[in-house]
């Protein structure tokens, strides 16, 4: 039988892995690709990775907050497309100064609709956001007539060039916006009472309510943030591409869900973080880029992404099993009781 100290050490190790796994994974992937993947470690490629990550990172901020609240938002992909289409379609009449806020507000409105149905009508978020996703898809096709919205005017290209051009090594304006949002929301969630309340709502809604937290309000706000941030990601991506295709957000949903889980946000809510999700997105993107640079195909990329996700899910299952096994057990207390004085557990046998 394992000694109490070994159990404690094991638990500590598990807790360490749990806390820092995404950073360890990030470091390993970065090191491996930097050494072995041809032309991985150079400013141009790293900037390209950051640019690719920028849209999904923005979207993932809101999605993580929704998941911390113990909910799901499946509409993020279509909100990306919707905002991109809206931002570019209205540019002619409102200019970007008008069309971008309208697109972001539209995303927030979609989030508000989702949030109210989830919080007030008590409908499962999976069903609600699946419905919103379908409605929005129809709206997008109706709005565009099946056409991609594109802008080939010199001023649209000028904005596109501005958003894509690095201000500093690795940092384009679009990346800067994303980094600012990530830092802002990470600090908000960690350092403010309102931010921490999202964790309480997701961790145990009833307890949060008993503690005087307006749980419905926080749920609605989480969805509004998710919609607005998905719109921010979509509209800035469309502006940089000078085009919004009808499928531009299609791939984001699964990608963001995977990254959020890999980053350590619990699907049951109450645990996780924006920064971790973004690090997970960066890790996945570095991995995908490396795979491409090695000349391997898309099937390898999907396979490896699946393996990582499976490993994380398995690990989560193991951690839950381990936690449930240890619930109520306090080896140090048992030892103290046996010896008869507090702190005995810390002394060598």
């Amino acid at each position: 039988m394992r000694s109490d100290k070994k159990i404690l050490a094991g638990n500590k190790r598990l807790a360490w892995v749990d806390k820092y796994r995404i950073f360890v994974l990030f470091a390993l992937v970065f090191l491996f690709m930097s050494v072995f993947a041809p032309r991985f470690f150079n400013v141009f490629n790293l900037t390209s990775i950051m640019k690719t990550v920028a849209m999904n990172a923005c979207v993932a901020i809101g999605f993580t907050i929704v998941m911390i609240c113990g909910q799901l938002d499946l509409s993020i992909g279509t909100v990306i497309t919707f905002a991109g289409v809206l931002g570019l379609s209205l540019k002619g009449s409102l200019g970007y100064a008008g069309s971008v806020p309208v697109a972001i507000a539209a995303g927030a409105l979609v989030g508000l609709f989702n949030g109210l149905l989830v919080a007030k009508a008590k409908i499962n978020s999976f069903i609600v956001t699946l419905g919103t996703m379908t409605i929005l898809q129809g709206a997008i096709y109706t709005l565009t007539g099946g056409n991609t919205i594109s802008l080939s005017t010199p001023d649209a290209f000028a904005v596109s060039d501005f958003l894509a051009k690095p201000l500093l090594p690795l940092v384009t304006p679009r990346i800067l916006i994303t980094v600012a949002l990530v830092i802002g929301f990470e600090l908000f969630l960690r350092r403010t009472q309102a931010g921490r309340n999202f964790y309480l709502v997701g961790g145990n809604k009833n307890t949060a309510w008993l503690a005087g937290i307006k749980t419905d309000g926080y749920t609605v706000i989480a969805f509004v943030l998710s919609g607005a941030l998905a719109a921010v990601g979509g509209v800035f991506f469309a502006m940089e591409s000078s085009a919004a295709t009808l499928k531009m957000g299609d791939q984001s949903l699964m990608y963001v869900i995977s990254a959020t889980i890999i980053g350590g946000t619990a699907m049951s809510g109450g645990k996780g973080g924006v920064f971790r999700t973004v690090v997970a997105i960066l890790t996945l993107e570095m991995l995908y880029t490396g795979i491409i640079l090695f000349g391997l195909g898309n099937e390898v990329k999907i396979f490896i992404a699946g393996l990582i996700l499976a490993a994380v899910v398995l690990y989560e299952a193991y951690a839950v099993y381990k936690h449930e096994k240890e619930v109520g057990k306090r080896p140090e207390l048992v030892k103290e009781l046996a010896v008869g004085k507090p702190g005995a557990a810390d002394k060598p046998a």
């Binding site: 090191l31 930097s34 032309r39 141009f44 390209s48 999904n56 991609t148 295709t245 195909g297 898309n298």
Partner: protein
């Protein structure tokens, strides 16, 4: 904890610097006997190469249609007017090529080309295989990339391709209207570009050496004439013949060419043929089957023909729906030529498909790149050979390319 993080950071930094050295060392110096290389390249004969279906890989195009004058405002014309689609059908003919680099005339042998497709599909595999056959003939370094239908990934791949500084990038734009910005970026990086397969919007052609691929509008105009002739034969004297269109994925040029190509062609050639409906159900047989079953209920015997943008999954769905409804009278044509499509033609379930060589598509793009390296004059557009496959000659196209 701080110690661990510091150690990880230090290891990352040192290994990254090693990686940087590796990456820098990987670049090869250019040089060699330029004249000899050009002469040797000009001697390479790709005209004998064959695709998996035993057809010539690089069949010369037989299309000799004259390019019409551009109307002042094509969008103002009705969608049934062929000139409404001028900027798509004839994209590139009026391009301003002032920003396109001139041929180095150093020969195609040994050049490095990066071949970026749109996504994974059996068609893409065949297309890449055809491209590689020509690249191998010139001993080119050939690197294919596939973004799996994701625009953000395709944009990233373009960045990575630029980062590798190849001698040329060959690109299938994921979307006609996102192509200008992609082409512009490659052009600004000073890398020659050939666009192929799906037609980009006209603006993109200003930044590319050429576009190569199937003349989708032309193919479908040809196909719609054969379709109209057969419909007339089956419905003699009919004042109205109803047809419906199963469309390609919205956004790309096939979405327009394979639906509005025949609509605008038949508006002039066979005005009695009327459009009942057009829908894009995607590329799943069951969804197409559902769509066609709905049409059969909604339009009943008025539905006489279906034009499909795809001869594999979509056509399987169509033929299944017609079989279930016992409607053998509905005439089907589709864009081809996959195994399923050719099998359906053989079985008589599809009347005709277009010959759309996947291998030839990739091969033509690389052959055009080779011609450019060899200093040959490159037309703004190079089309694949056109042909309509029917039951009469379908056997000559076996085994299928994909």
């Amino acid at each position: 904890m701080k110690r661990t993080i510091t150690l990880i950071a230090a290891a990352a930094l040192s290994l990254s610097l090693t990686g940087f050295a590796f990456a820098a060392g990987g670049q090869q110096a250019a040089g060699g006997d330029v004249k000899g290389n050009l002469e040797a390249s000009l001697k390479v004969d790709t005209s004998v190469l064959k695709s998996a279906d035993n057809q010539l890989l690089l069949k010369p195009s037989t299309d000799n249609r004259k390019v019409p004058a551009r109307p002042a405002n094509p969008d103002a014309l009705p969608e049934t007017d062929p000139l409404h689609w001028y900027d798509m059908e004839w994209a590139g003919w009026n391009a301003n090529k002032s920003a396109v680099p001139a041929s180095p005339k150093t020969g195609a042998i040994g050049k490095k080309i990066i071949f970026i497709v749109h996504g994974d599909h059996p068609w893409t595999t065949a297309c890449t295989l055809g491209a590689k056959k020509v690249a191998d003939a010139y001993s080119m370094t050939f690197k294919p990339m596939s973004p799996n239908w994701d625009l953000a990934v395709q944009n990233q791949m373009i960045d990575q391709a630029i980062n590798e500084r190849p001698d040329m990038i060959l690109l299938i734009p994921l979307d006609a209207k996102t192509a200008p910005q992609q082409a512009r970026k490659i052009n600004q990086a000073g890398i020659p570009l050939i666009l192929f397969n799906t037609l980009p919007s006209a603006e993109a052609m200003n930044y590319a050496i050429a576009w190569t691929g199937p003349d989708d509008f032309g193919q479908f105009r040809l196909l719609s004439r054969a379709f109209a002739d057969e419909l007339r034969k089956r419905n003699p004297g009919a004042k109205e013949i109803g047809v419906a269109y199963v469309q390609h994925a919205p956004g790309g040029s096939p979405y327009f060419a394979r639906c509005f190509g025949p609509i605008s062609e038949m508006a002039g050639y066979a005005p009695e043929i009327k459009t009942l409906d057009k829908q894009a159900p995607g590329f799943e047989a069951d969804k197409t089957m559902q769509l066609v079953s709905d049409w059969l209920t909604r339009f009943g015997p008025s539905l006489k023909g279906i034009v499909a943008a795809d001869d594999s999954a979509q056509s399987l769905g169509i033929s299944e729906a017609l079989k279930k409804a016992g409607r053998e009278d509905v005439l089907v044509v589709a864009a081809g030529n996959s195994k399923q499509g050719m099998d359906l033609v053989k079985e008589g379930k599809i009347f005709a498909i277009t010959y759309q060589t996947a291998e030839g598509d990739g091969a033509l793009a690389v052959a055009t790149a080779a011609d450019w390296f060899n200093g040959k004059e490159i037309p703004m557009r190079k089309n694949l050979a056109q042909h309509i496959i029917t039951k009469k000659d379908v056997d000559t196209f076996y085994p299928p390319q994909w």
